[in-house]
């Protein structure tokens, strides 16, 4: 049963190799591999649901010496989300890249990215996290530069340099940790870490690296050009998965490994950066001339929300309130993953159909593609946090936690952020009502729009109504074996 953990990593890795060797059959290999990953992810979630945390010591060496792969509630749920989103984006990519040569370049990199994301989510070793972060970074940059335009290359280059800087900071943190505690395994670290300068410096460096990679406010400038100029399926993966996975690591480190050294002051500082990110990201999204740029800035804003949860989780004592807040941050991450990828795929359909994605001249295309406009509306609802979406429940819990811990300052931030989000979403949707001639038939660009529609529906309807089970699944005990606290 423990060898379940290996498949989500090895399947896409092997498929990536095959996709390079048999370039012409990239679509088939990619589709099969993504499907296989989805099945293994679902099976993994099922077995974590049955018997809590699953771990395997690779090479048979006990974790101190060797590397352990671990899957608990948090990582298995994210793994499932990555698998679903990747499969859907993969299907869309076969239609998006009509040029077989570019597709032949896309598939090996794409499957490698999928393997890297799964490896990062399952890794239980701090240095191994560095290598997986690096692998995610490089594949993301290579995919981003697939577009070939000058802006794409400049953005990819800056994304690479900044990403490497982040990785170096992370590695410096790993050095200090290894120097102080002599082990690289996260669970071992969690039990041995003390509240002293070495831990603070290590935590600061690792968090700094991860903040750069998850594009939190001051270090967000590389994200909008990179996500806006990458091909649509790639920018969907970048915004929904790559940036999200960096936040997952912050969550894992803060709540699982360094809980002893977690001072409310540092959590507040992150929360503050998150608040500024929310306001700044939403404001810039409001003024973005292009749809994909709007979506990219919206990612910066939504990540700000995620970081708002940190001071709240730090402030809440163990108990139902904290479990609710923790479930909320996971639900927020999941819903944003689905909604943002749907938004980018929708933008991709519009860009290919209209030749551009400038919002002002969107009217005609928005009417010709009613399903895509509906997708933009659904993902917009999820971004604002209006009821049928999962984000609404997450924001409710966020506000509830803010009231519970008495941290009132986050409430106006969330309120204004939601209104700004409403402004930039409905600015786009307003164009769908512009007067016009014939309305396109329901599924004008059928197969291209279905993946986006599926993702948007998951974000709003499924995660909105059926999210109740998430909290049960994530109950705190499953998060770390034996509860290191």
């Amino acid at each position: 049963m423990t060898d379940l953990l290996v498949w989500p990593i090895l399947l896409p890795l092997l498929a990536s190799l095959l996709a390079l060797v048999f370039p012409r059959r990239g679509d088939w290999i990619g589709g099969m591999a993504s499907l296989a990953v989805l099945i293994s992810a679902a099976w993994l979630v099922h077995s974590v649901w049955d018997n809590g945390v699953i771990a395997v010591a690779l090479g048979g060496w006990q974790p101190g010496l060797g590397i352990a792969l671990r899957a608990d509630g948090l990582s298995s749920v994210l793994l499932l989300m990555v698998a679903i989103v990747a499969l859907t984006i993969g299907i869309y990519a076969t239609r998006y890249f009509d040029n077989a040569v570019v597709r032949a370049r896309f598939w090996p990199l794409w499957l490698l990215l999928l393997a890297a994301l799964n490896a990062l989510l399952l890794s239980g070793d701090v240095f191994n996290l560095y290598v997986t972060l690096e692998l995610v970074g490089l594949t993301a940059v290579a995919l981003g530069a697939l577009g070939g335009s000058r802006d794409a290359i400049v953005a990819a280059l800056r994304y690479l340099t900044i990403g490497l800087l982040g990785s170096m900071a992370f590695l410096a943190g790993v050095v200090v940790l290894y120097a102080a505690y002599g082990t690289l395994d996260m669970v071992a670290l969690a039990s041995v870490v003390e509240d002293r300068p070495a831990t603070w410096v290590a935590l600061m460096l690792m968090t700094l690296g991860l903040l750069v990679k998850s594009a939190l406010f001051p270090m967000h400038f590389w994200l909008p050009p990179a996500h806006a100029n990458a091909p649509a399926p790639v920018s969907a993966a970048l915004s929904a998965l790559v940036v999200k996975v960096a936040f997952y690591l912050v969550l894992r480190l803060w709540l699982d490994v360094f809980t002893v050294a977690l001072h409310p002051a540092t959590a507040w500082m992150l929360g503050l950066l998150g608040a500024v990110a929310v306001l700044w990201g939403s404001y810039r999204a409001l003024r973005a001339p292009r749809l994909k740029l709007l979506a990219a800035y919206s990612t910066v804003a939504q990540l700000g929300y995620l970081f708002l949860f940190l001071p709240l989780l730090a402030g809440l004592p163990d108990g139902p309130a904290r479990e609710a807040a923790f479930g909320a941050v996971v639900l927020f991450a999941l819903t944003h993953g689905f909604a943002k990828s749907a938004l980018f795929l929708g933008a991709g359909v519009i860009q290919q159909r209209a030749g551009h994605d400038r919002i002002e001249e969107l009217g005609g295309t928005a009417r010709a593609l009613p399903v895509t406009t509906f997708v933009l509306a659904l993902s917009g609802i999820a971004l604002i946090g209006l009821p049928p979406s999962g984000t609404f429940l997450a924001k409710w819990q966020l506000l509830a936690a803010a009231v519970e811990t008495g941290q009132w300052v986050w409430i106006p931030v969330v309120a204004v952020g939601s209104l700004l989000a409403g402004a930039y979403v409905f600015r786009v949707l307003g164009h769908a009502f512009a007067p016009g001639d014939r309305d396109g038939s329901a599924l004008a660009a059928g197969r291209e729009e279905l993946p986006a529609l599926a993702l948007a529906l998951v974000a709003t309807v499924v995660l909105g109504l059926a999210a109740g089970g998430l909290w049960g699944f994530l109950d705190f005990a499953a998060m770390s074996p034996g509860g290191a606290r």
Binding site: V131, L138, R150, L157, M168, L171, A172, V175
Partner: protein, 94 residues
């Protein structure tokens, strides 16, 4: 053994900080890649310093393996960065 650790440890920290500063201050891609490699060298030096256990003792092999991995990762990142930079120059020239 203490003197060696302090000297090279401090050298490692200096390299790391120099590299970091270089990346933030330079604008051309090549200069930034150089600075990144220097930054990496600094971190690797720290790793090896904490692996060093005096003249007589055999050093701790784990950091050595990690640094080896680090060097290879650094060179592949450099290769990708240089390829992107070259592509950029090609686009600018035609």
């Amino acid at each position: 053994m203490l003197a060696t650790t302090i000297i090279y440890g401090f050298a490692g920290i200096c390299l790391f900080v120099l590299g970091l500063r270089g990346v933030l201050l330079h604008t051309t891609a090549l200069a930034r890649i150089l600075a990144l490699n220097v930054c990496g060298a600094g971190v690797f030096l720290l790793f090896v310093v904490l692996a060093y256990r005096g003249a007589g003792m055999t050093p701790d092999p784990v950091p050595h393996a990690l640094v080896l991995t680090g060097i290879v990762v650094a060179v592949s990142a450099t290769a990708l960065a240089l390829a992107l930079a070259r592509r950029l120059r090609e686009i600018d020239h035609d």
